[in-house]
Structures are given as structure tokens and as C-alpha cells.
Symmetry: C2
Subunit: 323 residues, 2 copies
């Protein structure tokens, strides 16, 4: 479900893994026509060619859902509700896999909890996929590690098997909420890293910022969803690192523009792409109003993006809280 | 004590901090003459100009030591013993500050323990300086965070005060051994990151490698020197990140050459610089023979550098141990 770069990368993985046929939902019929004509997604990862005969495209979400047992969602989190609005099918008996790495805005719920509460899907039938995985590198068949999280370990294992291929290795986890929160937060910290980069802070400082970000993620998820976990597993720390350091990161690019003085509106227009961390910042800020976890970096990003505080002033204040 | 880039950066920090006069030991009289003539260190950080009237240079280590209460060592760890061989002065009543970030080869001791055991300096008079701090960025006055570790907290605090200036912030710690081991290990993992870069692994994989490296550091120092610590403090994780990701890192560059197929000898010759992690790999490998900590990345780097196993084969095996 989804026509973006991550959806395209996941389709590639599934088909490399040997999945005979997949159903693929994209909202716009024109994108499907173009895909069929060219044999690839013209808008994203256009270098990846597909065997069209093994794909059944749908622009109608209801038909796609009706003909599928497992629904893998890979739309950007801010658009999920919009897609689901058109859904008339009951999905409570489907397996839901969220590759969304985000929180549902307004509801302020991790995607897994949203499907559980609003669509009555039992938690044991919901999984989330995380891990450091720029779609662009998956397209290039660069080795990547994914983690499949589900409260039911057997389910996690069987889903993980579908994602193994010669350039993807999978592990499993039972920390579905922790992984979803962490996946959301890492976008916020990538924006922070970008802002500091835009303000001309150097590598020494960036590493302090990111170390403190890892600590903030740990404090937050240990409070909101207490569980024995190792925050330095690649699904948490690795995903933070790849997003905050990598040249492919949309959120870091967005942050860099903000640090250089662009307004939020101008930065979004220039990028012609959504920086999910912009929405994630607000979601986590609101959720944290109930928990009061000490999150100075999140607060700084929020103040810069939503309260229009000058980035240079806000980061100068933030410096005092880091170590 | 030392004429390299980190020694030069430290001299700059101390003089920015307001230290009236410093004694500076460099082995080669010609380097001192050049420094006096030019007003800067011609070999390292040559953009940093010094007020020569506030520096007393020594090429004789005994005179330097005699006239100083606090000795700050910033030579590369493999050369420390060579420098100290010439020392005839008793230094047991001096304050020793190690900025060396390494282990004394052959002895396989952290620098602090070496001064304690061989030179009878009480541990409470020995401190180590760590933290993510490329000298090149300190030269540019980019904000950096240093951590001063000493078993005596008051001593740590008073030393830390000498290193504060408008572009350096300091914190203190009592984990002197942990910080020295971690500072050594991060060079090993920067070599690993370089090797994988040279072998054309991408950013997704690098972030998995570095997450696993942070876990290896944690396992090792918790075994060798058990203490309550947060491995994601910037002195541990931050130092790892800046070394493994930064373009200034000699160890990463060395690793990249190895990954591309250079021999150890050729890589060292080409770089005209020492990659401390080369020695650190052997030290930690030997120390770990007593502890048997699970360290697959260290083992892989050791096998590549010392057992001449092909990097591509060794990393393919390593992949199985990561997650």
C-alpha cells in the first residue's frame, strides 16, 4: 500500500525473496499506467525494474484489501488516515504490517495501536518493520538489516522470512511500540542535526547531539513503553544514525534549510517532499505532555518549527543541556 | 608534551582559557625553532597562531617536567614509552593528564594505569581527557565537548576548569579506565567502518556496524572495568561516532585503504601518519584473551590486519554476527 520510495523498495525485496505475485495499491491510476508502461516506478527508485506480470496493481483500496491476506502499509504517516478513509472492507482478520515508521497525526498513536483501536485488528496480527534502511540503498541492493516486531514471536518470524533476500537480513523483536516511537523520534533528531549543520556546527558537536538524541529516545520509550531492550540495537540506534548522518535523509535536509534561515513553508516547497519529522515533532511533543520526559532536543526542534524561535538562539540554549 | 595536532589543539584551548604561560615539550629542536619563527606549528594545525611570548618550549623532557606541576601528555600512544625513556626526573608527585586516548603497547595497560604502576603516580593524581574532539575542529573553534575523568572528583573538576573556553565545554567522570578503553576501541571500529566503506558497503550497513560497535565497547568495558555508566554519553558513543563517520579520521581513512586492497604497510606509507587503531586492535585483542568478551568486529579487524585474511571474506563472515 503506497507508491513512494519505501513502498517500491519493499516490493523489490518481496519479489527478490521469491514471492510469486503481489498486489500493489497506489492511489493515482496515472502512476499505475506509467508503471505498467515503463516497468518501473517513474517517481521513485526509477532504476529498479519490475516483472510487471507478477504485480497486480490497484488504485481502489477496497479491491486491493479484499484480494490480500497481508496488508503492508508504506505510505507516509501523515497520509495514512486519508488512504484509510476510503476503506469500506473489514480488515480485522487481516495481517497488518506497518512499514510506516511514524505516528498517526491528531490521534497521536503509533500505527500499530491505531489499527488495533480503530480497525479492531488484534495486536498479535500486527507487525512493524524498522531498522536503518534508506530505500535508495535497498534499490542498489546494498546490504541492509530490517527488524520485524510483533507481540507474537512466531508471527514476527514468519513475516521476517518474507523479507529475507540476498541483500536484506532480518531479525525479530517484540518491542513494536518502542520501535515505532523510536522510528518517529529519529526523524526529529535528524532535523535537529540538519539545523545544527545549517548553523555551521561541526562534526564534534554533531556527535554530541546524536549521543544525547539516543539517550532521549531511550528515556522516552522506557517511560512510555517499559520493556527490557538494548537501545543500541540497530533498529533504534542504527536507524537514528543512518537518518541523522546520511545524505539521503529528507529530514536532515529539511533541518539544514531551517538552520540556514528558510521558513518551514519555504523549506517544504523547495524540497517538494514531506519531512515526516515535522509532524513527528508535534506528535511526540503532545504525547510527552502526559509523561514529562526530559527531552531538551525535541523541545528545541518544536520551538524552532512551531513557535518560530530563531534556530541560533534555541540551539545556543540547548547546548547547556547536552553533555 | 607532544608536537602533534592534538597537542597543538590542547595548547590552544589552555591559552584561550587564560592560562598565563605554558611549558611545551616537543622532541625535535628543529620543530621548536620553526614554531618560534612562524608563530605556529608548521606541521599540524598551521592555521592556529600562538602568542609565542606565553610559551616556554623544551626539547628536553627532563627540564620540561622539572618546571611543571601538571603534565599533559598528548603524544600518540605507540610513542609514549619512547619519550618517557629519556625521563630521569621523579614524576610521582606531579599531576598527570593523559590526552593520549590509547593503550601502551606491549604493556597492554591504559595510560593512566601505566603511570600509576610504572611511575608510582597515585591514581587520584591521574586524569584522562576524552570526548569527540577532532583537533582540526578545535583549531577552527567549532564547539566541542570534553570529559575529564579522574577517580578524585574534585581533581577532575579543577582540571576540567582549565579546559573550558568559549568553544570547549567540559564535564567530569570517574570512569578513567572505561574512557581510555573506549577511546582505544573507537579507533578499531573506525578502521572497521573504513574497511566496509572500501568494500563498498553502504550507509545502511555502516549504521548497523557502528551500533554493534557501541555494543561491543559496552560489553568490553563493563567486563574489564565494571561501573555504572551510560555508554551513550558523548565521551563513549560520541567519540565513536565522530571517529567512525568523520572525514578527518585517520583510522577510517586507513581502513578504507585496507578495504580497497592496500596492504597495511602500503597504507601506512601512503598516509604518512600513524593509525593508532592498528596498534589498539592488537592491544585489545591480547587483553581480551583473559576476558573472552564476545567481540566479533574487533576479531574481524584483527584477522584482516594481523592474519592477512582477505577483507571481503572476513566481513562476509562478520555479517552473520551482526543484527
Amino acid at each position: 500500500m503506497g507508491g513512494g520510495s519505501w513502498a517500491t523498495a519493499i516490493a523489490k525485496i518481496l519479489m527478490m525473496n521469491g514471492t510469486e505475485k503481489i498486489n500493489w495499491y497506489m492511489r493515482r491510476p496515472s502512476q499505475i499506467d506509467e508503471f505498467k508502461r515503463l516497468g518501473h516506478n517513474s517517481a521513485y527508485l526509477s532504476s529498479v525494474n519490475f516483472d510487471i506480470s507478477r504485480i497486480h496493481f490497484y488504485s481502489n483500496i477496497n479491491f486491493a484489501v479484499k484480494n490480500s491476506d497481508m496488508l503492508i502499509f508504506a505510505t507516509p504517516s501523515p497520509y495514512l488516515k486519508q488512504h484509510l478513509k476510503k476503506l469500506k472492507q473489514d480488515i480485522s482478520n487481516k495481517i497488518i504490517v506497518s512499514a510506516i515508521k511514524g505516528i498517526v497525526p491528531d490521534e497521536n498513536l503509533p500505527v500499530s495501536d491505531y489499527f488495533n483501536k480503530v480497525y479492531d485488528v488484534p495486536m498479535e496480527n500486527i507487525a512493524a518493520i524498522g531498522g536503518p534502511s534508506h530505500a535508495e540503498e535497498v534499490a542498489l541492493e546494498r546490504l541492509s538489516y530490517l527488524t520485524v516486531a510483533c507481540t507474537n514471536k512466531e508471527r514476527a518470524r514468519s513475516i521476517a522470512q518474507k523479507f529475507n533476500c540476498n541483500f536484506v537480513r532480518t531479525t525479530i523483536s517484540d518491542d513494536i511500540d518502542g520501535i515505532e516511537y523510536s522510528s518517529t523520534l529519529k526523524n526529529v533528531y535528524a532535523i535537529a542535526a540538519g539545523i545544527c549543520h545549517g548553523l555551521k556546527y561541526g562534526d564534534n558537536f554533531q556527535s554530541v547531539l546524536i549521543s544525547n538524541s539516543a539517550q532521549e529516545i531511550n528515556r522516552f520509550i522506557n517511560t512510555v513503553h517499559p520493556l527490557v531492550r538494548n537501545i543500541n540495537d540497530s533498529v533504534y540506534l542504527g536507524d537514528l544514525l543512518v537518518t541523522a548522518y546520511s545524505r539521503y535523509s529528507r529530514n536532515r535536509t529539511f533541518g539544514t534549510m531551517i538552520g540556514k534561515g528558510y521558513s518551514v513553508r519555504t523549506a517544504h516547497l523547495e524540497m517538494e517532499m514531506i519531512a515526516e519529522g515535522y509532524y513527528g515533532t508535534k506528535c511526540i511533543k503532545e504525547i510527552n505532555e502526559c509523561y514529562h520526559v526530559n527531552m531538551p532536543i525535541l523541545d528545541a526542534v518544536y520551538n524552532i518549527l512551531y513557535e518560530r524561535v530563531s534556530p541560533s538562539i534555541e540551539i545556543k540554549l540547548l547546548i547547556e543541556s547536552l553533555r
